[in-house]
Symmetry: C2
Subunit: 226 residues, 2 copies
Amino acid sequence: MNNRTPKDGAESGGAVEIAYRHIRSAIVTGELKSGEALQEAKLADQIGVSRTPVREALQRLSNEGLVVLERYRRGQVANFSMSEVAEVFRLRAKLEGHGARRAARRITPSQIDHLEELEREMESIFAKLGWHGHLSQFDHLNNEFHATIASAADSPRLDRILASALELPPSIFNFYREPLEDRTRRTHRQHREIIDALKAGNPDWAEAAMNAHLLSILTDPNPEPE
Amino acid sequence: MNNRTPKDGAESGGAVEIAYRHIRSAIVTGELKSGEALQEAKLADQIGVSRTPVREALQRLSNEGLVVLERYRRGQVANFSMSEVAEVFRLRAKLEGHGARRAARRITPSQIDHLEELEREMESIFAKLGWHGHLSQFDHLNNEFHATIASAADSPRLDRILASALELPPSIFNFYREPLEDRTRRTHRQHREIIDALKAGNPDWAEAAMNAHLLSILTDPNPEPE
DNA sequence: CTGATGAAAGTTGCATGCCAAAACAATCAA
DNA sequence: TTGATTGTTTTGGCATGCAACTTTCATCAG
């Protein structure tokens, strides 16, 4: 079973990267459901690599919180309670708010162009495909939008934390009661406001706008004490 | 070269854990200096495990930011500039401030006892051994002190971020100009104040005290815009 | 039928080997 | 001497095999 691929078309990284993307995407699209068991051998076979890179990929996903690993036990797709989702957005608000504040004073014109371009793309695929069709692409663009701001904050640690510890499968949005189209339109407005604040170089505004954006996700009133 | 150890005395986890602790401790104590190359085979041999668990351990350390990995390149011990250290403490202030705020309403009496016990221990070993002797033990107890508060915040993600993305080798303290004894004494006072705030169940106070504690590390005035 | 028990099957943890890419060294041209 | 070039050595990336452990399932006592 030697499926060595000396040059696999549009391949970017190594086998770990392939496995990582594959599994992550399966989780993100809901193909792998919360709580579902993850068997190294099966995944390896399915992806076309050996167990070693699959193990590394699962390790990474475990760090990111998308997968739960326990010694000698089968991995599982993590499941996210509403309160966990809320907590993630609270933490992201703290960190990305901080990031936006710093970014307001450091962001370059070309980064702002990039943000505007990303936002245009998001709006255009939303207009073309509607919510359900655009979920996966939206996730990607939206992640890059936030990552661009974080990187403008010039804090590699912040980058890493946001990229690795505070990601959620976009499928969680499907649990919300609010019509998804409404939520999406609001998201776009908020993105534009954040861009405005960054363009103006106003740290307070940028932080506040980012906070508003992230905390608006928590529409369901949450009864626990702050 | 089969150094299999069917039951290795007071062993806790697996080979990965052994490798992880070994390498981490070497970095933390300064045995491995910043920028030093990390060769899988050499480490594996030295630790007494194979390369596979060493690779996993390095992966973990890379996620934690203590090690820098790049595909096909030798790993290196990360090096921490003053501005990175400052940024870590700013991020910790945001996150642990949030944690302390939540903890103030949730912490249990037994957790408070635990904090007081930890603080007593820290002060006692400091009194006995002075700064240089107590560095490694202090690091351990101090980490548990902060981890206890974070866990009282009842936010597993926060736990994981603090444990994995915002750790620094305690050796960085040696770069500060301020006499270490002074700094340590202030740390103890601040710890006691944090405990007081938590005991009082006052979220604002707890957050503020935690912020004061973490931001006081940045004694060197930093000229960059916030 | 229910819960305990133990063997068989399945899965993960780790060691090892091979190959490809990087690091290094020697050689040569300018 | 210096910088480029090529050949050699070193080292990391991945596949695979075996051992340790968990899970499953059949069996049996109650």
